[in-house]
Every structure is written in structure tokens, then in C-alpha cells.
């Protein structure tokens, strides 16, 4: 097998001391970037590009890729410990991860995240080796119409995040969509709902909103309860127990598949796979009520999907030269500046380079695991700091993060404002996750629908011509039908139902 031969050669190169060192440095820097809120992987990678100018092309790519998925893991740490998502994709981990920390199981949460990330990333890279080119071409068939259908189906997953109060979840979804409208019309460029406030031209700012709704709100709640520590419970363990690992196996498996498949589709972004994996896990679980209260499967599925996505997203980049997300676009820019143009000819022109890079993905995943597992205990110890210091520290951390995004105090005010809002919502027992999902999916849904209609010349009939899109659109129809016609007692109707 030609590919295998190339891959082995790639390993030989990737395991050289020089490249190992680059991968290690990349992983460390990436994790740090992920931990710092506000400094997302895109910005962090962009800042570190000059660092790679003095390296040879292969070394540069290895380091930059390591930074990228290191950052994916780094965001988990703050999500679990202080309920502040280090980067956008870590939002879902906050939901169950922080609850686990509150129960003294921070070690388990971080540990299973590291393990799940490793498994997801490695399996995704294996799949990359085997099916890169054919899958990539197939993924291209996924056009704006299918994308729109996927987004709508994704939004309907909100039902899975609803918990007890469906009305509240739907209300939050609508609020999320309304917030998403603020900014500039994606097609016409005209400002919308900005009320003349210049800072709103770019939209409300996803990161400040999320940091506020999750992080600041958590601080306010804890302060209200006069907690002595961020997390009251004693730290039970530094690692997940064998039982917890066994529990998570299914979650990790499903997370890998979801993350990988979605990573192939350009434009999806890292948050969507994590949400979808989480909701899928909740749906198939026999005890869904544990989700949101510290279910380890919640963390495992989200984190695995996250890393599987990050590695799979390399497929469209390497095979077709099409970046899947803004962060990957930065990565691609870095490649180009270093003289490498990703695309199908890259495999033919410079096979050694490509396969060395792919080999280094494997190496990087292992390095991340080795780096992070032992550190879990160290991170978890941070929770022992008395709450008064922690609270002040986290708040400063968040303010710097929010300000650092665009050097704008406006973002800080947004964060604080949403922090108060988040506090109120939590008191009222309104679920926040649906609003976040809507805030992310809304703009993508709108843009892809309008592009679809531009392609079809304004006719909705285009959906009828496209079976994949039609199938995906059937999901919300089924979901809505189920909601409307759900009989009081499900048991006798469970089999033979229209679902």
C-alpha cells in the first residue's frame, strides 16, 4: 500500500528530535492559548506565525498544527475548573464538566477529556490516512442547500438540550437568534439592529457573551451562596475511575464519528460537532436526566468530537486546499506564507512533506496526552484557592480576555452585562445552551439559505432537487411533529411510532 509506505517514511521523519521538539513546543503553546479566554486558536495561531518563519516548511507546519489542536484541548481546562470556556468550542464542556468539578470530580473530567481527545484525534487521523481524497471530494457535494438543512437540523437538537422546561428552551433559542441578527446583513452589508453603535457592526461578539453567560454568571451565583471555595466538594480523584472510563467508551466512540464526519464539511466550525455529539449522547443514554448535572459521558463526547473534528478538518485542507473554519484558514495562510500551498497537487508535489505532517498529527495527539494527563492533578489543585481570591482572579482573567479580543472596552461591558443576565437566567432555571447554539447556528443558517436562493434564482424548489438536503430537513419536521403530537403516556406507543 503506497500510502502506508509513505506514512512510515513520514513517521521516521516526524519522530526525529527536531520535529518532536517542534510538536512539543506547539502543543504547549497551543494549550496555553486555549487556556487563556478570549485568545482563541485563530488569533493565537496568527500571532505565532512569525515564530515559524525561521523554521523549515515541514517544521513550521508541524508546530502550527500542534498549536491548533493543543488549543482545542486547552480550552477544556478553564471550562471544567471555572466554567469559563477557553475558546468557543469548549462551551459544551462547561455544561457537565464544571458540574463534575463541583462534585469533586474535576480530575475525572479533565482526565477523560484528555483520553477522549487522544482517541478521537488518533482515530480521525487514521481515517484521514485511509480516505482523505475520496471523502474530501464527496464532501464538496455538500453545497449551501445541504449546509442550510444541516444547520436547521442542528438547531432542532435544541430539543435535546431542553431539560425539563421545553418552553424556556425554545424561548432561549429565539433570543439567541435575535442576538445573532445584530450586526451587518451578511448579504447586503447594511447594518442591522446596531442602533448606530459602531462596535455592534461586527455583531454582539460571541466570546464576550459566552464568557459572561457562563463564567461571570457562575461567579455571581457562587458569591451569592457565599462559597468558601470555587468548588466546595473535596477533590476525589485525579483521574477517572475504571468505572467512569467504561461508562464513557460509547460516548467516545460516537463523539469520534460525529466529529470526524462534520470535520470533513467545510464551514461547519468547531462548536457544531461538540453540541451534536453531546445531544446525541443524551438521546441514546438510558439516564438522560444526569446530563447537565455532571454526566461524564457529556464531557467525553464533547471533547472527543472536538478533537476528532480538529484532526478531520485537516482533510479538506490537505486534500483540497479548502479551510473548514476561520482557525484553519489562519493555518492555511501560515502554510502559504511558508511557501506551501495546500491542495491536491501537494500530495503529488511534496509527498514527503505531507506524510511527515500527517505522521506528526499522530505524534502530536500522543504528546498532548502525555503532557496533559499528569498535569490534571496540578490544574485541579487550583480549585483549592479560597474563593475570594479565585473570584477576583477569574474576573480579572475574563476582563483581560474580553478586552484582548479587539482592544475594546465595549466587549468587556457586553460580557459583564451578559454575566448579570446569565445569573438571572440561572436563577429562573432557564437553560442557556439553546441560546448559544442559536447564536452560532443562526448566522450560518441565514447565510447559507440566502446563498442557496441566490443559486436557485429565488426558488425554494431547489430543496426538492437535492435528496441530502431534503433528508436533513426531514429531521426538524419529525422533531416538531413529535413535540406537538407527543401523547401523555409514551410507553404503549413507543414501538411502531412514526419516528
Amino acid at each position: 500500500m503506497d500510502a502506508l509506505h509513505h506514512l512510515l517514511a513520514g513517521f521516521a521523519a516526524a519522530l526525529s528530535v527536531k520535529y518532536l521538539l517542534f510538536a512539543l513546543v506547539g502543543c504547549v503553546l497551543g494549550t496555553l492559548i486555549g487556556v487563556l479566554p478570549g485568545l482563541g486558536p485563530a488569533a493565537g495561531t496568527a500571532i505565532l506565525i512569525p515564530l515559524t518563519f525561521s523554521l523549515d516548511a515541514t517544521g513550521a507546519i508541524i508546530m502550527l498544527s500542534a498549536i491548533y489542536y493543543g488549543a482545542m484541548y486547552g480550552g477544556t481546562i478553564t471550562s471544567v475548573l471555572i466554567n469559563v470556556p477557553g475558546e468557543a468550542a469548549s462551551v459544551v464542556t462547561c455544561i457537565d464538566g464544571h458540574q463534575m468539578a463541583r462534585q469533586g470530580r474535576a480530575g475525572s473530567a479533565l482526565g477523560i477529556a484528555a483520553i477522549g481527545s487522544f482517541v478521537g484525534g488518533t482515530l480521525a487521523t487514521v481515517a484521514l490516512v485511509v480516505v482523505a481524497m475520496p471523502l474530501a471530494s464527496l464532501a464538496l457535494k455538500f453545497g449551501p442547500a445541504e449546509f442550510f438543512a444541516l444547520m436547521v437540523a442542528g438547531l432542532c437538537l435544541v430539543v435535546g438540550l431542553a431539560g425539563n422546561n421545553m418552553m424556556a428552551a425554545l424561548l432561549m433559542t429565539v433570543i439567541g437568534l435575535l442576538l445573532a441578527l445584530v450586526g451587518v446583513d451578511p448579504v447586503r452589508g447594511a447594518p442591522r439592529f446596531t442602533f448606530g453603535v459602531e462596535e455592534l457592526y461586527d455583531g454582539i461578539g460571541f466570546i464576550p457573551v459566552v464568557m459572561g453567560l457562563f463564567g461571570v454568571a457562575e461567579l455571581l451565583l457562587a458569591a451569592e451562596k457565599r462559597q468558601t471555595h470555587m468548588v466546595e466538594a473535596e477533590l476525589k480523584s485525579w483521574m477517572p475511575t475504571a468505572a467512569e472510563c467504561k461508562q464513557s467508551v460509547g460516548a467516545i466512540g460516537r463523539g469520534t464519528v460525529v466529529g470526524f464526519v462534520l470535520g470533513l464539511i467545510p464551514g461547519v466550525g468547531a462548536i457544531v460537532p461538540t453540541f451534536m455529539a453531546y445531544v446525541l449522547e443524551k438521546r441514546v443514554s438510558k439516564t438522560p436526566e444526569r446530563f447537565g448535572k455532571g454526566a461524564i459521558e457529556g464531557v467525553a463526547s464533547a471533547e472527543t468530537a472536538n478533537n476528532a473534528y480538529a484532526n478531520a478538518a485537516m482533510v479538506p485542507l490537505l486534500a483540497l486546499g479548502i479551510p473548514s473554519s476561520p482557525t484553519i484558514a489562519v493555518l492555511m495562510g501560515a502554510f502559504i506564507i511558508n511557501g506551501i500551498t495546500p491542495g491536491p497537487f501537494l500530495f503529488q508535489e511534496q509527498p514527503a512533506l505531507v506524510w511527515t505532517v500527517i505522521a506528526s498529527f499522530f505524534v502530536g495527539n500522543v504528546l498532548l496526552l502525555i503532557l496533559n494527563l499528569p498535569l490534571v492533578g496540578l490544574w485541579a489543585k487550583l480549585l483549592k484557592i479560597p474563593f475570594s481570591y479565585m473570584c477576583a482572579g477569574v474576573l480579572i482573567f475574563c476582563v483581560i480576555g474580553a478586552y484582548g479580543l479587539k482592544q475594546s472596552l465595549f466587549d468587556v461591558w457586553v460580557m459583564l452585562g451578559f454575566g448579570i443576565l446569565g445569573y438571572l437566567l440561572r436563577k429562573l432555571d432557564f437553560p442557556i445552551a439553546p441560546a448559544i447554539l442559536a447564536l452560532i447556528l443562526g448566522p450560518m443558517m441565514e447565510k447559507s439559505l440566502r446563498t442557496t436562493l441566490e443559486i436557485s434564482g429565488g426558488s425554494f424548489a431547489i430543496f426538492l432537487d437535492r435528496p441530502v438536503a431534503l433528508t436533513l430537513l426531514a429531521v426538524p419536521v419529525i422533531v416538531v411533529g413529535f413535540l406537538l403530537f407527543k401523547p401523555r403516556s409514551l410507553a404503549p406507543l413507543r414501538e411502531g411510532d412514526s419516528e
Binding site: 459602531e198 457592526y201 467545510p266 511557501g339
Partner: protein, 322 residues
Amino acid sequence: MFIRRRTLLAASAAITVASPAIAQNYPRRAVQLVVAFAPGGSTDIGARILAAAAEKDLGQPITVVNKAGAGGQIGFTEVARAKPDGYTLGFLNLPAVNTIILDPERKAMFNVDSFIPIINQVLDPGLIWVKGDSPYKTLADLIDAARKAPGTLSACTTGILSDDHLAILMVQEAAKVEFRIVHFDSGTQQLAGVLGGHVDVAFDNVGSVFKRVQSGEVRGLAITDSERSKFLPDVPTTKDLGYGTVISSSTRGVGAPKGTPADIVKVIETAFLKAIKSPEMLQKMDAVGLALKPMVGAEYARYYADTQAQAKKYTEWALKQR
């Protein structure tokens, strides 16, 4: 009163003497170059290469800051409102700046006079391309097909009122055809759209896809310029094909907010010109398919005004079609 007049005299003397001194003291810290488009794109890459090269000549670090959004409007607004002290420069994309100003719906907070165009770096000519295995082998094929089915052939751009959009309008005018216009946000989205078979033809620029044209993955039908591109010598120009009025390209250069002192502008111009003329710059830009066309001073100012006039005509036409 006597004292006040003397103080006033001394103060004005000091300021007059200080002006060149101010320029001599510039730059004393890092300079920001605001790029109005996302990192990793053609504009950003050109800007980063330029910044890295000009740093040495300017004597201070030049940090590239990306402020993408609204087709460049966010970044351009930022530059227009920055302090005119020479420490915030903008990477100006023409005709993006022009069309934003000309579209009343965009409510641009800047106008033609908000910027001092200092030096142009890149002139990236427009390129009309289709999939490698597309049935359209020449521009004539495409135009024929478009005539037979008006308003059905889809053509994509990298943004509404971008140079690509204006190029489509120029072709529609010159060849008397009508396309279905689809707006994407970037060259890579266009790739996904055309290669995936969702859109028939893409109007983009040479820098974004030249490697793919060279490899045969996509087919270049025409370059919307009066001379052929050195990167794609086999692709005919619109002038070659008889559509000499279809001239469209994306130019990118460095500008400063209105009010930046003339001597500081001169320092910037000298440093960047040196960088652009250096052999390493040429080498790096050749590798990424971006053609250098340095323009300074009056020449650039004239180009700026000309682009505004040309953009006006087609923008108004585009707005009428809304």
C-alpha cells in the same frame, strides 16, 4: 499681555521647528497595519509579507491586525477613525473602499477623503475560471451558453460589490448577457462552490487560484486586464478576446487616516517603497501569485480617484438591480 505675545511667538516657533523633528522621531514604537479581511486570505498574506519586509526599513515592528467583517467596512472604518499620528496604518483594498462608500445602505462612516493613499503594493487582476472538467472551454463558450439561457448560469463572487461583482456587471454589459449572481465570502468558498458543482463560473483574482489553474484543477477562461498575467501566460485577456472594456482588478496598498502629517507619510512611503522594490519581496510575492505594482504619491492618488469613478458607474447599476 506682553508676556503672552512672546509666549505665543515662542510656541509657534517651537511648533514650526518641531514638525520635522516630530517626523525624525517617528517611528518610536510599533506601528499597526490594519487589514480589513480575514487572516489567511490573499489580502492578508500580501499584507503580512509586506509588513515583515518593511519592518526592517522602518526600524520598528509593524504588527498586522485583522479587523474583518462587512466586506472590509469594519477594518476601513477603524483606520478612518484612528489617530492620525502615523502609528495606525490601513491596508486599503480598492475597489472595496470605493463601493462601500458608494452604497448608501452600508452607511459608511468614511468617504474618499478619509484616507491618504500612500503606496500601492499589489495589483491582482481579475480571473474568470471554471472547473477543470467544465464544458466551457473558452470565454466564448460561456457567453454563448449564457445567451441561450439568460439568468440561469450562476456566477459567484467573493462579496457583494467586490471587484468580482463589478467584473460580472462589466461582462454583462459588454456581452449583453445575464448571469445569476451568487455572493460568497472568500475565494475558498468559491472553490468549494464551483468544484462541488453548485455554481457554474467564478469571478475571482489571479492570486487566489493561480496554482490550481497551473495544475489544471480549474480552467482559467479570461483575465480581466489589458495585459496577460506572468503567472498564467496562457490565459487570454478580455482585451485579447474582444471585450476591452472589461478591466477589473483588486489593488491593495497602504494608507493612513486623513490628517497624518506629510513628513510622516513620507517616511512611511520611503520605507515601504524600499521593501516593495527588494528582491526578497518579489520572490515571496511570486510564490503566492501576487503581482507587484508599486504606485506612490500623485500616481496612486490618481489611481484612487479613477477607481472611484469607475466603481461609481457599476455600483449604481448594481444598486438599481436590487
